[in-house]
């Protein structure tokens, strides 16, 4: 349990550090060791991008974070901000009775903060955006949303605006370009976009020439062997992925990605993380919004296929860089998150937590796959893509946010889980949650719930912690 405590502490601290627009410490540490060697051109792109945009977040975030560390008001600030948000929610929803009860206890002591202060707090960068909680994501009229995207994308933009707009879902028509931007792959500066894309795509194909088609040493042979076992069985029910052309594209992407990351190498499940990028970039070339599931990829030109492959590679790389400790030896990143998830559920919903514990269900047994595959195995592919609109909009906060999504996901099934009377029933349900009929509206609810949890708990480590010793 000592370890659990330790992890808990570092978790809360990590949350404060993990602010959008700010490279994570992990990333910095890594770039010292390997990426300078492994990413000849690519490693500077994030810095390029930072320099190229007038992104106000960074400065203010740093100020905010150092302030937060050194002053005593930090807790009050975070709690009151959380409270503010919570109140908004409470007025609209009546679902979370237990938290509301607890809340009324704390609110009496915290409510004295002047209104002006609250407004100021609510604008602190790095805080979850107020917008989201004031209007929980709704299925906006797609026409008008598309227009808003088109306006914003046609100019040099700030990532912040794009995140705001994208968080609640991105129209298919602009999803490809938006994902490239959100991944930090495509520069926000309009004039630089074409040049960068051309160069990066070229880079990818140079890597393929140099590594994929080269003589492999034993490690790389192992990687290639494992990839060749996994790729054909990725999505057995979707015709697209049974096509040899598609499988070879995946094999190249995965091989290049893995061989350049000696700390992790290829880990089963990474293949599932390529899939959403692949599909989104493919959809850009599919006419008339036809379903991608049955599309024949050989209908595309070689040029088009090369674009899909290279862009999938780069976006995967950016995306997974933030969660690389999930895939290194012993998968400590995941083990840590499993503990955090358990801690979170214990605080949010003790009934459910006790029910699981009573039947000897451990969180590792079901949430390992959720975290390892970012829920891709638990959701239909179209839902995963919608979920990633939000993940990508969360930017560097995504690894933490994902934890709250997992918590919300577990809580979603509470009633079904409470009905299970034994270990076996619980685990079989948890391994096969019936999401087959889910659509993007369930995902919107899920991320809204996750957002709510994040606001309540991320910066308020004692919130609802009534049974702490």
């Amino acid at each position: 349990m000592m370890e659990g405590d330790h992890d808990r502490n570092s978790f809360w601290k990590k949350n404060i550090k993990n602010v959008p627009g700010r490279p994570s410490p992990k990333r910095e540490a890594r770039s010292n060791s390997s990426s300078s060697k492994t990413k000849p051109q690519g490693s500077t792109s994030f810095q390029d991008f930072q320099a190229s945009v007038s992104d106000a977040w960074d400065l203010e975030d740093d100020e905010f974070c150092t302030g937060l560390k050194n002053t005593k008001i930090s807790k009050k600030v975070s709690q009151s901000a959380a409270l503010n948000v919570l109140n908004t929610h409470r007025s609209s929803t009546e679902t979370r009775k237990s938290s509301n009860e607890n809340l009324s206890d704390t609110s009496t002591t915290q409510i004295i903060i002047p209104h002006a202060e609250l407004v100021r707090i609510s604008r602190i960068p790095g805080r979850p955006l107020q917008m989201h909680c004031a209007n929980p994501p709704q299925e906006e009229d797609s026409e008008s949303k598309l227009e808003r995207f088109e306006v914003i994308l046609a100019n040099t933009l700030t990532l912040q605006d794009l995140c705001k707009l994208s968080w609640s879902g991105i129209p298919v028509k602009v999803r490809g370009i938006t994902w490239r931007l959100l991944s930090g792959y495509l520069p926000t500066n309009l004039e630089r976009r074409d040049g960068v894309l051309e160069r990066k795509r070229q880079d990818y194909w140079t890597l393929v020439e140099k590594y994929y088609y080269a003589e492999h040493d034993e490690i790389n042979r192992d990687i290639q062997h494992q990839i060749s076992i996994d790729v054909p069985r990725m999505n057995p029910t979707i015709v697209l992925f049974q096509q040899k052309t598609v499988q070879i594209m995946f094999e190249r992407i995965l091989f290049i990605w893995s061989s350049r990351r000696p700390a992790s190498g290829y880990v089963q499940g990474i293949n599932d993380l390529v899939t959403p990028f692949f599909v989104v970039f493919l959809q850009e070339f599919i006419p008339d919004n036809k379903p991608f599931e049955t599309f024949t990829i050989d209908k595309l030109s070689e040029e088009q296929r090369k674009i899909i492959e290279a862009d999938s590679f780069w976006c995967l790389s950016k995306f997974v860089d933030g969660i690389q400790d999930n895939y290194i030896f012993a998968q400590i990143g995941i083990q840590k998150k499993v503990l955090q998830l358990e801690e979170l559920i214990r605080r949010v919903d003790e009934t459910l937590h006790k029910h699981l514990k009573q039947h000897n269900v451990s969180y590792l047994q079901f949430s390992f796959r959720w975290l390892n595959n970012l829920l891709t195995r638990e959701l239909p592919l179209r839902c995963t893509i919608r979920l990633w609109d939000t993940y990508l909009s969360e930017n560097d906060c995504f690894p933490t946010f994902q934890l709250y999504v997992c918590a919300a996901f577990l809580l979603y099934w509470k009633d079904d889980l409470m009905r299970q009377r034994d270990f076996q029933g619980l685990l079989l349900l948890l391994q096969n949650l019936p999401t087959q009929s889910w659509t993007s509206s369930q995902i919107s609810l899920l991320v809204a719930e996750a957002y709510k949890l994040k606001v309540m708990f991320a910066d308020a480590p004692n919130h609802l912690a009534c049974n702490e010793s």
Binding site: V267, F329, L364, Q365, Q424, G425
Partner: protein, 215 residues
Amino acid sequence: MSSKDDEYDYLFKVVLIGDSGVGKSNLLSRFTRNEFNLESKSTIGVEFATRSIQVDGKTIKAQIWDTAGQERYRAITAAYYRGAVGALLVYDIAKHLTYENVERWLRELRDHADQNIVIMLVGNKSDLRHLRAVLTEEAKAFAERNGLSFIETSALDSTNVDLAFQNILTEIYRIVSQKQIRDPPEGDTIRPQNVEPIDVKPTMNSDSVRKQCCQ
């Protein structure tokens, strides 16, 4: 689940191990649900299923943990070995490498599983006759040398799948009932998150230099 499943005389935890792609998940789904998928997704971490069988008029409930074959998952999957009374060590009769790796898997069990675990060597995909790369006799001899039971199965056409599980569960039952040890109640053996590695050193009094190879 159904109340029928709640009643059992013995609960045995069994693990399925072996290289990636040898058909562990399909053996499990064939045994527990009578299902087979030619292209079933790779197992991430560990998956669980269960089925009860009758031996000597007793109901034996098998709690089977299907593990990921990839090396990277070893740290996670090894945690599930604890408390397991049986292991099906699976290789693919059409892929010699998966057979060669059986020794590594045995070492893995020696390091992480209970000392008395009953191990059955399973040559799966016996339907691939024209692609056979591992001779039955060779595997059988290997199993005998190492004190393992042995069977060849095909999850695809169902050959010997039930028999394999039946055999290993019966074998465990004989051992357990001879010892007159009642199995602990449900779930007691399944707490992988609390696993503390137990360092079982062989009580050897002489030089054990050869041990070095196992690190």
